[in-house]
């Protein structure tokens, strides 16, 4: 039998509803304050499943990465993966949570064909970690979003409704994903608009990737999020009734769904209606959220402590070990870049977007000794080249040491900025060091007085009019003459030395 969810029974009514919602005036909208909380599921990047030794692998042939435990066979028992716990603790620490020394797994009971045990093993009244926060930046302002809790759980399998000869009558189940380790991160209702929600989800992904908890590939379902949305009249304290929106598989959809839902709720209240507590599904094609399950039909999950697992105890020692193995967190690193190297906020932000770019930058600074200049080269020229080539910083043909050397050469007056900009693409192309390219192409700054004087003489001879003007007091013409000398030297002349020699020569 086919157990797909029934599609929307009344599309026209929904369409009309959508149109009327769009008619909410901005000033009416502004009378309400949205309140948003997010539940983010992150797949932990373990090699094996959370309660058995089966590999976690995307795209394997259906039902091949399975065993008695993740198939839910009679008699099979779960054994908690230590690696999963360590990654979960790492995530909790990165979110500034208090890791509970004692937490407990619970069974969340419901029937679904891709849930082989008939229950999910999750955490309920005693989660792994609580009371954290995540900092977000919206319009340049920093804001802390509270993290209520981080708990561990196992993922279900997948139901496949299409693509088989008998898909009109049957659905198929692939249990490869069953038992994949997840953490659920529940935020406080601290977000006030879709930009906050977008920034939170983005920052969450960044942090999780940064500390190596997960690759957070949304297309593979490694990061999923649900949004709880309510509205209340501005200036009031009491939360409005919330709706939970599911099926938000990109951050763009998250933002669109939250915006839609805010308008829907405001419209409903303005027209004398009441928001019902319910679960809604975001429809990517219509851009609408659609009611899926009302409160009366909400599942009663009948949670109770999982008797097959002993309580999870995280000792001070273990917590310390995990903490000390964590890399510097992106926000800490950003602050340090600003303080230590005097970077602009924007550059510091860009240079901490991923761990790889931060590591590259720091490596380059070691060779250049100049943080600001190095930041300019990485954020500007190098990233431009990488983008054009469709490459990641990890695959950059220009090594961090070579980029640092390029900056150092400028600072030592061995290269002009102009020359350096010509050399970098060549470094990018060949992977060679700046010195190797300079030698090969004879590109070298000319500071030697004799050589420069010869060039100056020929320039002065060719521009008698400008020499005349300078001598009559129009000293501004010096710039023109310097430019001519630079041109004649193919940009290799040291501009400082040229300036000085010209002045002296023209008396």
């Amino acid at each position: 039998m086919n157990f797909r969810r029934k599609s929307c029974p009344n599309a026209r009514a929904l369409y009309n509803q959508n149109m009327s919602v769009l008619a909410v005036a901005e000033d009416v909208l502004r009378k309400y304050e949205p309140v948003i909380g997010l539940e983010v599921h992150v797949q932990l990047g373990t090699k094996t499943k959370i309660f058995c030794g089966c590999p976690v692998e995307f795209g394997a042939a259906p039902n091949t990465n399975v065993c008695p435990v993740c198939l839910g066979l009679p008699g099979a028992l779960p054994v908690l993966s230590g690696q999963a716990v360590e990654l979960a603790i790492g995530a909790a620490v990165a979110l500034h949570c208090r890791v509970n020394p004692f937490s407990r797994f619970a069974r969340k009971n419901y029937f679904y064909p891709d849930l082989p045990k008939g229950y999910q093993i999750s955490q309920y009244d005693q989660p792994l970690a609580e009371h954290g926060y995540l900092a977000i930046f919206v319009d340049g302002a920093k804001k802390r979003i509270g993290v209520t809790r981080v708990h561990m759980e196992d993922d279900a399998g997948k139901s496949i409704h299409d693509g088989f000869k008998d898909s009109d009558r049957y659905s198929y189940v692939d249990l490869n994903r069953s038992g994949t380790p997840l953490i659920e991160i529940v935020s406080e209702p601290d977000m006030r608009n879709s930009d906050d929600a977008y920034a939170y989800a983005t920052a969450m992904k960044q942090v999780m990737q940064y500390i190596g908890v997960s690759e957070c590939d949304m297309e593979k379902g490694q990061l999923r999020c649900d949004a709880n949305v309510s509205v209340r009249p501005r200036g009031t304290e009491k939360f409005g009734t919330k709706a939970e929106i599911k099926n938000l598989n990109s951050f763009r959809f998250l933002k669109m769904a939250v915006d839609y839902e805010i308008r829907r709720q405001v419209e409903l209240i303005e027209s004398g209606g009441r928001v019902e507590q319910e679960t809604r599904l975001y429809n990517v094609e219509t851009g609408q959220t659609v009611g899926m399950r009302s409160k009366e039909h909400a599942h009663d999950y009948r949670y109770f402590p999982e008797p097959d697992l002993v309580p999870l105890q995280v000792s001070e020692h273990w917590l310390h070990q995990v903490k000390s193995a964590l890399p510097e967190l992106p926000q800490d690193r950003r602050d340090r870049f600003v303080n230590e190297f005097g970077l602009r906020d924007y550059d510091a932000e860009v240079l901490t977007l991923t761990r790889a770019v931060g590591d590259y930058f720091e490596e380059a600074v070691k060779a250049s000794g100049d943080g600001r200049a190095t930041a300019n080269w990485v954020v500007g020229d190098l990233m431009g080249l990488l983008k054009a080539a469709g490459k990641d910083i990890a695959d950059s043909p220009v090594s961090a040491a070579n980029l640092g050397e390029l900056v150092a050469l400028i600072n030592k007056n061995e290269l002009t900025g102009k020359l350096a900009k010509e050399i970098l693409p060549k470094m990018f192309e060949t992977g060679d060091s700046p010195r190797a390219i300079m030698e090969r192409e004879g590109l070298k700054q000319i500071s030697d007085t004799g050589a420069l004087e010869a060039i100056i003489e020929s320039v002065l001879a060719a521009n008698p009019k400008q020499v005349e003007q300078y001598k009559s007091g129009k000293t501004a013409v010096l710039g023109f003459l310097v430019g001519q000398v630079m041109k004649a030297s193919r940009g290799q002349a040291n501009p400082g030395a040229v300036n000085e020699l010209l002045r002296k020569r023209l008396g």
């Binding site: 039998m1 157990f3 008695p68 198939l71 839910g72 066979l73 009679p74 008699g75 099979a76 028992l77 779960p78 054994v79 908690l80 069974r107 009971n109 029937f111 064909p113 082989p116 045990k117 008939g118 229950y119 189940v173 009663d300 009948r302 949670y303 109770f304 008797p307 097959d308 697992l309 002993v310």
Partner: protein, 481 residues
């Protein structure tokens, strides 16, 4: 083969001796046992499946070891029956239920692996109440088991087949499971030894779960020593069961043969209310015998006993309602095809489960429901702690506790099946052992005037099976004389 002694008289020790002296081979024992069992089984319906091929392969391995002069396992050549809630690779495991009527597991339970590694010969799979839910073996989808001591009576349950087979002599030892008395009560009813070890002593990996926090695998034997040997072989930490204990396993054999002079034994007064007069007299005589052996027997109190039945039927049904959710028609079970998903679930589970299993799933679902959890499940967990505390307090003053196993001996088939409350109440003396997790066992201690076996229940401290076996072994020796 003619050299094999009558199969029902075999013990682990006798087989070991016979193999050592080359009186008979392991294949001789396996063949004789299979022949006897297949011939006698129709009387009791103890076996649901025979595993001749697996048995003969295992017996051949033992004979090869003997021929090569290799070290023999502790259970070399010993015919073993396995309760059908314990999974066996390639060998049908039904859990006594229609829903798993054709289920062939792809793996072996840890207990079975450990016993076979020591040379045990799996003869077949033993009948039981469906998913181990019942006290009479009448809840099996494959017909009731009859008590070898009186064929019109129940063998007890839920491990009725395991007790009956050992009593009947169709295997030497067997495995059962105990959640509320399912090993001790049938052992008592059939007149054999049945042991419920400390919770966590034996890995539950491969035991189809009824109530995970209460489920135990334990052995049956025709004497204390055989049961203790089986326990010793399968006990100990298993990485596949997070709740299995790291505690070291004693060598029970020599320890149990020390005398019991001065052993402090408690007699819980709560266990003598509502007892049939015959059973009362037999248990009193047994305690007298313990005194004769030098034990200091004193009355004690386990004051929360009266709440045990209510507490037990909340916790076990709650866990069962969740544990049995996996039998949903999607993967390996029976499936009643239907047009919609919920209809498929309803039809499959409606057709696949028997009445008692359905009753417990409904009870368990109810007690875990939103709004009822605190009043039932949470309260029951608190009561469970009090009952465990009762035992902890008692064991500060005594080394062992003895009590009846059941208020009455084996009852007639059909006598109680229509009255679940009366059936539940018959577990009253055994469920405290499971709720507290202490080791306990039943050792035969006499017969009712109409010849029905009665067992004496022995409890000891957590992980102190040695003391329990010592008391039971000394008592058993005294009963012989």
């Amino acid at each position: 083969m003619s050299n094999v002694p009558p199969v029902p008289t075999l013990t682990i020790g006798r087989i070991r001796e016979g193999l050592r002296r080359k009186e008979f081979s392991a294949v001789d024992v396996a063949t004789a046992t299979l022949e006897f069992a297949e011939r006698e089984n129709p009387k009791t319906n103890a076996y649901l499946t025979f595993s001749s091929e697996r048995a003969l392969e295992a017996a051949n391995r033992v004979d090869d070891q003997i021929a090569n002069g290799e070290h023999l396992g502790e259970l070399a050549g010993v015919p073993l029956g396995v309760k059908d809630v314990i999974v066996t690779k390639g060998l049908r495991t039904t859990c006594g239920s229609h829903i798993l009527e054709h289920y062939i597991p792809p793996y072996d339970a840890t207990a079975v692996i450990r016993l076979e590694e020591e040379g045990a010969i799996v003869i077949g799979k033993l009948n039981c109440d469906e998913f181990a839910m019942g006290s009479s073996n009448e809840n099996s989808a494959f017909g009731p088991v009859r008590n070898p001591a009186a064929l019109d009576r129940v063998p007890g349950g839920s491990s009725g087949g395991s007790a009956a087979a050992v009593a009947q002599g169709t295997c030497v030892v067997s495995l059962g499971s105990d959640t509320g008395g399912s090993i001790r009560q049938p052992a008592s009813f059939c007149g054999v030894v049945g042991v419920t070890p400390t919770y966590g002593r034996v890995s539950r990996y491969g035991l189809a779960a009824f109530a995970s926090s209460l489920d135990h695998i334990g052995p049956f034997g025709r004497n204390v020593e055989d049961a203790a040997t089986v326990l010793k072989v399968m006990a100990g930490r298993d990485e596949l069961d997070s709740t299995s204990a790291f505690a070291t396993v004693d060598d029970y054999g020599p320890l149990m043969k020390q005398d019991i002079k001065g052993l402090k034994v408690g007699l819980p007064k709560e266990y003598f209310a509502g007892l049939s007069a015959d059973t009362d007299a037999i248990i009193r005589a047994a305690t007298k015998k313990l005194e004769d052996l030098g034990c200091q027997v004193n009355e004690i109190s386990l004051p929360h006993t009266k709440y045990a039945v209510a507490c037990y039927y909340i916790i076990c049904t709650a866990e069962a309602s969740s544990n049995l959710a996996r039998y949903d028609g999607v993967r390996y079970t029976l499936r009643s095809d239907s047009d919609t998903l919920s209809e498929m679930y309803r039809n499959t589970r409606g057709a696949g489960f028997g009445a008692e299993v359905k009753r417990r799933i409904m009870l368990g679902t109810y007690v875990l429901s939103a709004g009822y959890y605190d009043a039932y499940y949470l309260k029951a967990q608190k009561v469970r702690s009090l009952i465990a505390q009762d035992f902890a307090n008692a064991f500060e003053r005594v080394d062992a506790i003895v009590a009846p196993v059941s208020p009455f001996p084996a009852f007639k088939i059909g006598e109680k099946i229509e009255d679940p409350m009366s059936m539940y109440l018959s577990d009253i003396y055994t469920i405290t052992g499971d709720l507290s997790g202490v080791p306990c066992m039943s050792v035969p201690c006499g017969q009712s005037p109409d010849g029905l076996p009665v067992g004496l229940q022995v409890f000891a401290r957590h992980f102190d099976e040695s003391t329990m076996f010592r008391l039971a072994w000394n008592f058993e020796q005294a009963m012989k004389s």
